[in-house]
Amino acid sequence: MDLLHNLTLGFSILLQPANLFACFMGVLVGTLVGVLPGLGPAAAISLLLPTTYKLSPLTGIIVLAGIYYGAMYGGSTTSILVNIPGESASVVTCLDGYQMARQGRAGPALGISAFGSFIAGTFSIIALMLMAPPLARMALKFGPPEYFSLMLLGLMILSYLSSGSMAKAWMMAALGIFLGTIGQDRMVGTLRFNYNLDVLMDGVGLVPVVMGLFGIGEVLLNIERSMTREIFKTHISNLLPNLRDWAKSILPIIRGSVLGFLLGVLPGGGAIISSFASYAMEKKLSRNPEKFGTGMIEGVAGPESANNAATGGAFVPLLTMGIPSNAIMALLMGALLVHGVRPGPFFVKEYPDLFWGVITSMYLGNAMLLVLNLPLIGLWVKILKVPYPLLFPLIILFCLIGVFSLNNLVSDIYVMVIFGLLGYLMKKFEYDGAPLVLALVLSPLIEDAFRRSLLMSDGSFLIFLQRPISLGFMGVAIFLVLSNFIPWLRHRPTETPQE
């Protein structure tokens, strides 16, 4: 079969020492980058981009792609252990993963995260191989109105992210939307809310905010609680998920993989949104939704699978049409362009060895990552035993270095610290940070899509209802909102008892 022939071609190219080594280095660096808070795959790839110029195009892409999905594996580590997202897509893993760690189940959390990521990654590569061209064509049909309706739907899932009061969740979302408007308007160019500060012209920055809210905020809270803070259960029960964990996780992993892949295909979608969406989906489908936020393994398995599947999906528009679907894909495209390789609709035909070489390297990379990450779980879990007074200065140090490494801007540090204080206050008064982060991510996307749609329709709001895909998403969004208020559609009360 043609596919088999292509795969053998790919593997034969891959199994050269240079490419194998490149794959290993890529995923290793990716894991490290993912574990270190702040330094995300985008920053790492841009830092390492020049070093790949001397390599062949295939070797270069193998390294960079390895960093990308490797970071998705590593990002969950610090989320679970110390409630600091290693990179933005792992924010959601903090919600239940950290709670699992506090209950002495860090090992199973890390384990299911690694296995889920592997299954999802492999799934997304297979899907990429088999379904890339038709998926890409479908993605073309997504214009601004479809994006708006989809992102609006995404905003609606906020109600599923919070374990507390819905009103508070929506307040945080509103704050997130506002924060997303800071900076230069992308439609007209006007500078908004930047107080004439050049550094705010590009907005407030997702990474400093996330690290402040979740990382610094948690540290501050823990320092305050240090008298009464319970020590992590030092008896770590198992290092690997047991059969019951697997039974609970297998469906979330499958669902997360599919959802993550589809959302990753959409330009502008990406790992963050798919992890949030997966979390919301699991919570909605669960029999005990009120337990989410207290250490449900489904809340780790689903999102972690989704963000890995999204990385595979993100390759689809680039490799089939030459359209980068997010900033990291744009960097990879830049790397190819420098070598004179222009990804476009004929990429597979013009550069079959490049295409299949990359695909097979992704298989190998995922397998390498699983092998790398599992034994490390024992090591990571030992970190938890370090007494907190020694641990938290290190955490803060890593956060400071990590956030500065993004842009070499001191203002990023200020942002992180300010949001750290805010995060501390939020945790004290029981406001959730997750809706804020989701809204911050979605805010520019929703706004741009909305305004472009209105530009397209010369101001008519009907455009959202006149196009079938957009109408579909709007319908689901409205249904979700209503289902919170109509009792017989509700599966759970809107306000759940606090922990």
């Binding site: 790839i45 841009s46 830092l47 981009l49 020049p50 110029y53 073309l140 049909k141 997504f142 214009g143 601004p144 230069q184 992308r186 439609m187 007209v188 160019g189 006007t190 500078l191 050049d198 550094v199 012209m201 590009d202 330009p267 049409m321 030459g322 359209i323 980068p324 744009a330 960097l331 495209m333 830049g334 790397a335 362009l337 420098v338 004179g340 222009r342 990804p343 476009g344 609709p345 004929f346 842009n407 070499n408 801007l409 741009d448 472009r452 530009l455 397209m456 010369d458």
Partner: protein
């Protein structure tokens, strides 16, 4: 013991003096003669992986062979290019800090908003490449030539929409200049990258797209889009059937030039050295080969001519910005 202590003190003082003197002023009066004697920093005012990184690849790869020193890119992103550009404008004019210059941060930014520099703060060391814009439509669009589009647009003012990368960028200027020259009115839909703007046109969400030729070429070759005009003064080598705006009678010329800039006051000898290195690179066909491979157009212009072009473009864009109301508040 006393004398031993004195001896140690003396040694320490002597050593410090020697250290201090040797660290002292690396004599500058000979600096121009043996320029460059250390690596040159090229300021890139955008984040890594962007268009400037790609465009300056030929310089980074080839020029060190002629200069004898490495060229290192330093990224200083922020405020769409102004932070890095302002930094480069204030750098010491000794030829060791140069700006990776291009139209958008040197010409367009000062024309559309207040930035802490003007093109006059820089002096060109010569230009090596350019990029141009193409106006493209879908293959199933009812217009086979630009004139047909103009005729249709005149009958339906505001009906047709064009997508570009960014607002008040080169492509937007290009389209506005064309609109004025043709006497039509079209709606503008900004996107966040050339790729997105092209995708929107391919997917049918806008009618026209104006994007850089090298971003559009894969889609033009595959037939997903059809180019109606290019924004240069001569036809593009790889699109020989596509006329220029000027050919068709519309006074539109938008080129995105790429050339290094030095802070004003840099000595003439240094500028000449940098320029002759680029000239040699072209004579031996090293530079043009790479420039074409990455999809740009080789475009060699000496410093004096480039200074003139930058000044003229600055006036052109400032005037156009006022006329179109392009102003970032």
């Amino acid at each position: 013991m006393e004398s031993r202590k004195k001896f140690k003190t003396f040694c320490f003082l002597a050593f410090s003096c020697i250290l201090f003197l040797s660290w002292g002023d690396r004599s500058t009066q000979a600096a121009e003669k043996d320029y460059p004697n250390k690596s040159i920093t090229l300021i890139n005012p955008y984040a890594p992986g962007g268009g400037i990184d790609i465009a300056y690849r030929p310089i980074i790869d080839i020029l060190p062979d002629y200069l004898g020193q490495k060229i290192v890119i330093s990224h200083k992103p922020g405020a769409t290019g102004s932070i890095g550009t302002a930094f480069a404008a204030k750098a010491k004019p000794d030829g060791y800090t140069l700006l990776a210059g291009s139209t958008s941060h040197v010409n367009l930014a000062p024309a559309t908003r207040k930035v802490p520099y003007t093109p006059g703060d820089f002096v060109s060391v010569g230009t090596f490449a350019k990029a141009i814009d193409a106006l493209a439509v879908r293959p199933d669009a009812p217009w086979k030539t630009l004139q047909e589009f103009v005729a249709d647009a005149k009958k339906n003012p505001g009906k047709y929409k064009f997508s570009t990368f960014g607002v008040m960028g080169a492509a937007h200027f290009c389209m506005e200049l064309f609109d004025r020259a043709a006497g039509i009115k079209a709606g503008h839909i900004p996107y966040n990258s050339d790729s997105e703007a092209l995708t929107a046109a391919i997917g049918g969400h806008t009618d026209v797209v104006v994007a850089t030729v090298q971003a559009a070429i894969p889609h033009l070759s595959s037939g997903a889009l059809r180019a109606l005009a290019v924004s240069d003064t001569v036809r593009y080598k790889y699109l020989p059937d596509v006329p220029t705006f000027k050919e068709l009678g519309y006074d539109v010329r938008v080129i995105i030039w790429f050339g290094m800039l030095a802070p004003k006051g840099t000595p003439r000898e240094i500028i000449d050295k940098l320029w002759s290195a680029q000239k040699k690179g072209f004579e031996e066909n090293k530079l043009p080969a790479i420039i074409e491979r990455i999809g740009m157009i080789p475009f060699l212009r000496p410093p004096e001519e480039m200074d003139k072009i930058i000044r003229e473009d600055h006036e052109l864009y400032t005037k156009a910005a006022k006329e179109f109301g392009f102003e970032i508040k």
